[in-house]
Symmetry: C2
Subunit: 129 residues, 2 copies
DNA sequence: CCTTAGCTTGACGTTAACGTCAACGTCAAC
DNA sequence: GTTGACGTTGACGTTAACGTCAAGCTAAGG
């Protein structure tokens, strides 16, 4: 078994965020670590949550959107209407992400062209290379 | 030939942003429309710029990053060192975008799984559907 | 002439996502 | 006992990207 309990600085170091950030996520209701007195204790579940938060941010979700997804995912376990709502939200987000990927694909294409152009220009100017 | 000149509200409507937003981009040095007296006149070139800005935003660039790219692209025309810097920046951005696409791919996979799971649950509960 | 539509500048407000700082608790080591 | 590492809670500051007035210009229509 891997390590089960982490301190706040453990997680901060591992994911390269500040402790302030992690506490802020807690204020926003995104993580709820246990306590030993005052001190926060993070388990694997909390660590996974943090990973999900950070990945969510990387794909352009706001903290509020991330929390809504967490909430829905929790609530959806035993409530059919909630489940259907969840599915709808997922479909919408999937659509957005597809569009986002298309944008990225386009930009990558342009970057490729620009690079080729740049390198051609550089070759002309430095024919000795 | 298509229309050559646009008012600020033309562009605002077409791209679904406010005029305030467009003026803000001008303050930030991202667009420089001509003037007829006070009034701003936008040409096709400005329209393209606005498109690029909005697409940049969609892939997660800040306005500052977008301006840097514009500036570099302009400056790179006749300065070899600038060109090389430009190529480096493009390479870095390309790397980031690849990672971002990978994140999105992962999330899309998870969304698919969640949906399947949700629908399975719904089927069990509503076997008449 | 007056109004209305559309545009202008400027100033201040707002939200998200933290950073920064102060003041304090706590536990092991010296 | 005090020092230092680590942690805590507030409270206030900051940046980006606009929103929201306020106050005024200007050309066209009635």
């Amino acid at each position: 078994m891997k390590q089960q309990i982490f301190s706040i600085t453990d997680l901060a170091r591992e994911f390269d965020v500040t402790t302030r950030t992690i506490r802020f996520y807690e204020d926003q209701g995104l993580i709820e670590p246990e306590r030993d007195g005052q001190r926060r204790l993070y388990r694997r579940r909390d660590r996974v949550r943090l990973m999900l938060i950070l990945r969510g941010k990387r794909i352009g979700l706001s903290l509020q959107e991330i929390r809504e997804l967490f909430d829905l995912y929790d609530a959806a376990r035993d409530d059919a209407p909630q489940l259907q709502e969840f599915v709808r939200i997922l479909a919408r987000k999937e659509q957005q992400l597809q569009e986002q990927m298309e944008d990225i694909r386009v930009v990558l294409g342009e970057i490729g062209q620009l690079r080729a152009q740049c390198e051609k220009t550089l070759d002309k100017r430095l024919p000795d290379a």
